[in-house]
């Protein structure tokens, strides 16, 4: 079975928010709800400056702290390594939001269920259905695919760029950043 992951190249990312809006529409989120949030960094002093935009979303950690602490088992890791939430089990206790060091979960206003990026998992397809953040990225900064397939685009890209999780080995994150 595949083990899905993503590479995000912040050298290319221009912080244009397209991924956030595309994701909202694909996952029918509210206008104020987002699975992707952004950190904007600026360093140096004029005129020697540099800037960086870093999109943050669920890292689908293999050792997901949110999955460990979820009392009802609403949060589970499926066989493809994608961390999902069963909206029918979630009681909205928000323990997962406390446990997640990346702050990438959000409370869905109307239901109180705590949701997050699902890698656009499609149950009918039994796989990720063309993640909209990758499909829409205008700077070609995102690569998605099966980490276990050595010649998949994402595996090749991660190896070629020595991409690393944003917080090192804090968790076994499956989004790898090139910075």
């Amino acid at each position: 079975m595949a083990r899905y992951g993503m590479m995000i190249d912040t050298r290319k990312c221009v912080g244009c928010f397209a991924c956030r809006v595309a994701c909202q529409m694909k996952n029918t989120l509210g206008p104020k709800e987002g699975f992707v949030h952004f950190e904007f960094l600026e360093s140096g002093t004029y005129p020697d400056v540099s800037s960086e935009a870093i999109p943050m979303q669920c890292m689908h950690c293999a050792d997901a702290p949110c999955e460990k602490v979820c009392p009802t088992g609403a949060t589970y890791i499926n066989e493809a390594g994608v961390v999902l939430v069963d909206a029918n089990k979630c009681i909205g206790c928000k323990y997962c939001m406390v446990a997640c060091p990346y702050s990438v979960r959000m409370i869905e206003e109307i239901s109180g269920v705590v949701e997050k990026c699902r890698f656009c998992w499609d149950d009918e397809m039994g796989g990720p259905n063309n993640p909209s953040c990758v499909a829409t990225c205008i700077a070609d900064a995102r690569v998605f695919g099966d980490l276990d397939d050595p010649n998949s685009d994402v595996a090749v890209a991660i190896a070629a760029n020595d991409a690393q999780p944003i917080a090192g080995d804090l968790t076994e994150a499956k989004i790898f950043y090139v910075r």
């Binding site: 909202q24 694909k26 996952n27 029918t28 509210g30 206008p31 104020k32 109307i110 239901s111």
Partner: protein, 208 residues
């Protein structure tokens, strides 16, 4: 619900449609000064009805779709539908939410046709009131109650939105109409959601 209650509501629904001066006068008159039930407004005292000009100004500025900052009385715009419908329609402020689809489905079942001008807003307050009235006359009580609970639950949200928007604007030309419409919505809310007897109890309590 007693006939008088429904007749009042029918008259009130006129306030949410663009009407002629003559219809407006008869509507205000219908439950205003000499209606059998004492004026259901304000704290027991009589609430001054806006003149036709004030009503028209209020209608143009606040109830007409497309005018910036207006709040058309259409249920879909004030309910948040979650993943029910297409990607675009999650969150408030969008037409043709599931409430619209549901009203259309009910009308189809009852072989009732909605005028084309309401194609985009079958869940406009006027249509909801008329449909509710029709169900009161013909449909089993508990089904009508279910319909009313479902399709009038947004009235408090709407009333709140209206009040805060008017506070933001504080346009004194709209003042009289604002308080009046707020009271009308209060009446509709109570009667349609809790029933006419709840309203009468409230009036008695207020005037006691």
């Amino acid at each position: 619900m007693p006939a008088l209650g429904r007749q009042t509501i029918d008259a009130l629904s006129v306030l949410f449609a663009r009407t002629s001066e003559e219809d407006y006068a008869s509507a205000i008159h219908a439950y205003g000064e000499d209606a059998a039930c004492n004026a259901p407004w304000g704290d027991g005292g009589r609430l001054q009805a806006p003149s036709f000009e004030e009503y028209r100004h209020f209608f143009n500025q606040v109830l007409t779709p497309g005018v910036p900052g207006s709040l058309p009385p259409v249920e879909s715009l004030y309910r948040d539908w979650g993943g029910h419908r297409a990607g675009l329609q999650h969150g408030q402020g969008f037409y043709l939410g599931p409430s619209a689809a549901h009203v259309r489905q009910v009308c189809e079942q009852l072989d009732i046709s909605i005028p084309t001008e309401f194609d985009a807003m079958p869940d406009h307050l006027i249509i909801l009131i008329e449909l509710n009235e029709f169900l009161c006359e013909h449909a089993p009580v508990e089904q009508t109650r279910a319909f009313a609970d479902e399709h009038f639950s947004w009235l408090p949200v709407y009333r709140g939105a209206l009040a805060s928007r008017m506070a933001e604007r504080n346009d004194d030309q709209l003042a009289v109409a604002c308080t009046y419409y707020d009271a009308v919505l209060g009446f509709l809310e109570t009667v349609l959601l809790q029933g006419y007897d709840a309203f009468e109890a409230q009036t008695r309590a207020r005037s006691a």
